[in-house]
């Protein structure tokens, strides 16, 4: 690429900020970012934990090791993602984690578009000792791990049997990564996610704004601008009727429904 992928811009965010935000929307435990020794990262939310590869340039198993070690017993499962997936959808992460829990495997591994995707997979955190053994044996490819543990491969059909995922990402663009400048430019040329915005209360002037308005927005801040709303201390947003945020960098994904509300709910 010639530039660190983590810092590449995509519709107002860096790729790393976006991936961290999308994963954080799904998981209920900590999010860990693993970096190379001395690697500078874009600004991240304070609650994101940082870990560092023991040695640089040794491949993905080194990063998986550092991430699992940082998680400790804070979670039973870890979703492992690469940085360069601008179209990663929360429904994809959720579908992989659901499959992992459902199948009681050690790894739930998507196999799609003709490839295995070890950096878009769920790993049982208890695999850490096995990963350590492989590193000690200098067997640094995830494929070596897959030979030793209980695997569940998720093909395209199985992935898309998840109704949320088939609705949100029918082409499995969550797996689209950028490996060279041309791929990055093609990814940048893609539109921001298609979402809907609504305004409630005094923000719905004379009732206008109550109906969902389709807009393109990759972040909450962009959605607010599209809705003609300023995200100040008097306004909050509800994502899909669920989490509340007023963070303009909060990442949005295709199909999200954003509701802008008065922050003051008294009465």
């Amino acid at each position: 690429m010639g530039r660190p992928k983590a810092s590449l811009e995509w519709h107002g965010s860096t790729l790393l900020q976006r991936v961290v935000g999308i994963v954080a929307r799904v998981v209920d435990g900590p999010v860990v970012v693993v970096r190379a020794p001395g690697q500078e990262l874009p600004e991240l939310p304070a609650e994101v934990a940082l870990a560092t590869d023991a040695r640089e340039g040794r491949g993905p198993l080194e990063g998986i090791h550092a991430g699992l070690a940082a998680l400790g017993d804070a979670a039973s499962w870890a979703y492992v993602s690469s940085t360069d997936v601008p179209l990663l959808h929360p429904a994809f992460v959720r579908a992989v984690l659901r499959a992992a829990e459902r199948e009681d495997a050690d790894v739930a591994l998507p196999v799609a578009h003709g490839f295995r995707h070890p950096l878009a997979a769920a790993y049982r955190t208890g695999l850490l000792p096995e990963v350590e053994r492989l590193i000690a044996e200098d067997r640094m490819k995830p494929a070596f791990l897959f030979e030793r543990v209980r695997m569940h491969e998720l093909d395209e059909d199985e992935l898309l049997r998840d109704r949320d995922l088939s609705r949100a990402d029918p082409d499995l663009l969550s797996l689209l990564n950028v490996n060279d400048p041309a791929e990055y430019e093609r990814a940048r040329a893609r539109s921001a996610p298609a979402v809907t915005v609504r305004r409630f209360g005094a923000l719905a002037r004379n009732g206008a704004g109550l109906e969902p308005l389709p807009v393109r927005a990759a972040t909450l801040g962009e959605a607010a601008t599209s809705a003609g709303v300023t995200l100040d201390r008097h306004v909050v947003a509800a994502l899909n009727g669920d989490q509340i945020s007023r963070d303009p960098d909060y990442p949005l994904a295709t199909g999200d429904a954003v509701a802008f509300l008065a922050a003051d709910a008294g009465g």
């Binding site: 409630f200 005094a202 008097h234 909050v236 009727g241 669920d242 509340i244 007023r246 922050a263 009465g267």
Partner: protein, 616 residues
Amino acid sequence: MRRVPAPVDRGSAPGGYFGRALVADLPHGGAERLPLSEQVLRSCIGGAGLGAWLMHRLAPPGVDPLAPEAPLAFVFSPLVGTPLTTSAKFAVVAKSPLTGLLNDALASSHFAIAGKLTGHDALVVRGACEVPSVLVVDGGRTRVEPAFPLWGLPAAEAERRLRERLGAGFRVAAIGPAGERLVRYATVSHDGRHAGRGGLGAVMGAKRLKAVAVRGAGVKPPLADPEGVLVAARDLRERSFGPATAKYRELGTLANLLSFNAISTLPTRNFQAASFEDAPRLAAEELHELRGVARNNCASCTIGCEHIYAGRGGSRARVEYENVFALGPLCGVSDPDATLAASARCDELGLDTISAGGTIAWAMECAERGLIDAPWLRFGDADALLRALDEIAAREGLGDLLSEGSRRAAATIGPEAEAIAPQVKGLELPGYEPRTLQAMALGLAVNARGADHNRSGAYEADLSGELDRLAGGEGHAAAAIETEDRAAAMDSLILCKFLRGVFAEPWPEWAALLQPVTGWDMDERELKRTARRIVLAKRLYNLREGWTRAEDRLPERFLSEPIELDSGRQATLTPARLGGMIDAYYAGRGLDPDGRPEPATTAELDLDLFVRGASP
């Protein structure tokens, strides 16, 4: 004839105070003056805080709330009568017949100004009349008049006739038929506003007191820095026109309804669901254009949150979120005309809309489950809702049971009914779903008054985006403490909570408002300590009356039935999670595991001030 102001001896009272309360004894109306020391005033400020001190001081331990000797206090504050916007407020304080615990209900009206200008910081009524009566406080003089022609009238009509008889200079707080018949959630009304929660209208009814009429003596207590108060008032007035109050000004609190529906926090069909399919029919965004006919301000208020809507047949109804939620989605009623009519009927009868709606919704579910024999009472049936309201106020038929509130009524039926009774400490829940607002769940569980959104605004933390509203924990406990403290400060100063958004730094700004009025050098730290003291003063009163930790809880339904959000996520609140938040709340408040103040807390907050004053 022009009245000549009578001289008022304030002694050495601080600015904004008269330094005394009037204690009137029924049936004859004889009165004594209870001196209020500067230490008491500075420690409690006014309103809810001073009311708590008065109850510790004047209420006999263990008193039946409906017994003659139970005191009922109308408590003012140092800001009443100043030009500060929203300051014309008072607290009605007594032991609640619904909860058996301390209750303060706040309202805004000219009664606050006229009552204070009688020359007292509080008016307390004790005893009972033998016949329906009116207590008249005319400046420093008190008398009791018979009220036979007024008995049975709606409060507003009684108020109108009484002012016609006594003179327009009088301001009146009155009860409706529900209070006369001791419905445990009857209101006290004035200027079309209501001290609504906790059944204080029944306390008046038990005293056979239809109304209290007050007329000021025409003398205001001096202010420490009149020019400073004017400057503060001008500034606050300007800010009250800004974005922080836009919601109240433009749509009123009913703006909550559709927003809450969108985030699964709109209690529906007795809390069986958290969103209502017909919510848009009841939404302010829709109804305001179609039916909005007027907007009213309380006395001395520049916000104007009260929105009046036209109902069927030319009727008019005051519309707020809580009455529409309770008499609409909570009862499964989607017809706006029916909900507006039920709301207006509650006002006429003198019923708290939240407790009335909550108790009826509970009865509807009980009827569906076959726990009570009332085949006519079904969710969504507007006629049944109106019939139930009338039966409650008349204590006729099923209404006699429902007039006791959902906790007492459920106790007569059994555990299945108790598990779904929507109450904490006997007070029915307001329109905030605790499973999807888990800081609020804690606030509802631990508040001294019972399940209440005006004494615990913890929903603000849930809706701030800074906490996960579905995963209550220690952060939620800290937020619940802070919002409860803020409510205690606003309820004692007294300022309207709808103004709270204009204060970017509320503690120093509130302390700064108090300084030119009283002359006190009270800073942010002292005001915070005062608020914490007031919160615990209420808890201390409840402890005196037999409260135990077992009452800091939520009904079983909320701890055993998850709610599914539109996103597919389940909102679950377990006993362990709520218990953990309660532990964190107690620790944060300096309470022991049984909910009693630790000795260090008692010392730090000078809580002995209340214990010392416990006996009259």
